[in-house]
């Protein structure tokens, strides 16, 4: 039986893991390769690097980082941020990424999903969708969640699947960083609307929130970041809670019923 995944996300800028407070005053929290290796040892099922660099100069380090990581990491690595074309996807995969996520570039030109999917297979094309509730409807935002597109989130998720995305990384802008739980209604709406796996993101504050993403949200994977980096929870604690709730997990060190 296919297990449900716990995915750890690292925000990367200029080749380093950074952490922001209220989206500002970023501070350096370490080397991505060392952190990724640590989370693999602790039982993470996948790693995501999200490049939040503002400039092309900072972003140039991303492929080198993927290369160094792939030589040390033996679980799947997804990279996202600034990837615009199928050739960019090719470079990322050649550098060492297993999957690539596209967000703003997919909204601007949805065909990029189809082009990447035809060349490399749907399994490595992740459509990243940032959504927020606006006047009772979930709307899609781009450029780091700052720019509204007017697109309705469920319709856009369906379009991403139709174009060839093999997975949807769904982030609630409203919940991101708040630690009050995932947006379960949004997660449920998208996971019921598409047939590709859906990764819930944004809002994990406790192990109970992670369990809810699977139970009430219907997600195939849950993405966590801050609560692990800050030591609020461990990978083993989160996966143990999933197991106790009857969510199938990959058994790794310290996962107990």
């Amino acid at each position: 039986m296919l297990t449900r995944r716990l995915i750890v996300c690292l925000d990367v800028k200029g080749g380093r893991v950074v952490k922001g407070v209220n989206f500002e005053s970023l501070r350096d929290v370490g080397d991505p390769v060392a952190l990724a290796e640590r989370y693999e040892r602790e039982g993470a099922d996948e790693i995501v690097y999200l490049d939040i660099s503002a400039s092309a100069e900072e972003r140039a380090t991303l492929l080198d980082l993927a290369r160094r990581t792939a030589e040390r990491l033996f679980i799947p690595l997804t990279i996202g941020g600034g990837i615009r074309t199928a050739d960019d996807v090719a470079r990322a995969l050649r550098a060492g990424a297993d999957k690539v996520s596209l967000n703003t570039s997919a909204v601007e030109r949805p065909e990029v999903l189809a082009e990447a999917s035809h060349r490399f297979g749907a399994q490595c094309v992740v459509a990243s969708i940032d959504a927020a509730l606006v006047d009772g409807a979930y709307r899609v935002f781009v450029k780091g969640g700052k720019v509204p597109t007017g697109l309705e989130a469920v319709a856009w998720a369906r379009e991403c699947e139709r174009q060839g995305a093999g997975e949807i990384l769904l982030t609630s802008i409203d919940r991101d960083g708040v630690r009050g739980g995932y947006d379960l209604a949004l997660t449920r709406a998208i996971s019921e609307a598409v047939h590709v796996p859906v990764i819930a993101s944004g809002g994990a504050g406790t192990s109970a929130h992670v369990v809810e993403a699977f139970d009430a949200g219907g997600a195939d994977a849950a993405l966590v970041a801050g609560i692990l980096h800050d030591g609020v929870a461990t990978v083993a604690e989160l996966k143990s809670a999933m197991k106790r709730a009857g969510v199938p997990v990959r058994e790794t060190a310290g996962v107990a019923a």
Binding site: A70, H118, E167
Partner: protein, 201 residues
Amino acid sequence: MPEPRITIFDYGAGNLHSLAKAVASFGTAPVVETDPVRAVETDVLLLPGVGAFTPAAERLAPGRDVMQQALAGGLPCLGICLGMQLLLDGSDEGTGSGLGVIPGWVTRIDAERLPQIGWNSLEDAIDPLLAESGLDTVYYANSFICRPDKRSHVTSWSTHGGDRFAGSVRRGRTVGVQFHPEKSSSAGVAFIHAFLREMLT
């Protein structure tokens, strides 16, 4: 014995770094070869696993007969994911011929949610390499799976949705795995080492 030659046949897309590193940590850095004819001039052949069937079969085509004969002659081969699918006759995914070393056909998984992405368990595993490496939960990223004509070629099974399919196959010194051992953490790397150890000693 001189240092063995281990060759990864590179047929286009995909991340080869993790596989190359897993092999290198066995003690021998692999050679990456894009020419299918030259790829068989080796002690062990690895067919890596990312991409679509048709472009991969096209890249294989000029060396298909040579590679088929080499495998039939006992050249050790590990096919991973799409690389395993290339061991069969052909695929519903697209046109082009596989190697036909494992008779059978590649079809889409019969499941609600595709691709199958994530960790799944291996059932009824009989290949000793799996037990030796402690590999029982493996990482998959695929929509298509192999349906070998002979059940005797299947050495483990997995289930996704309502479909039970071959997790791994073996015929002599040809081994195929539908999952990604190079992405299945330390037990997956141990599996690659166990395969190389069996084939090179």
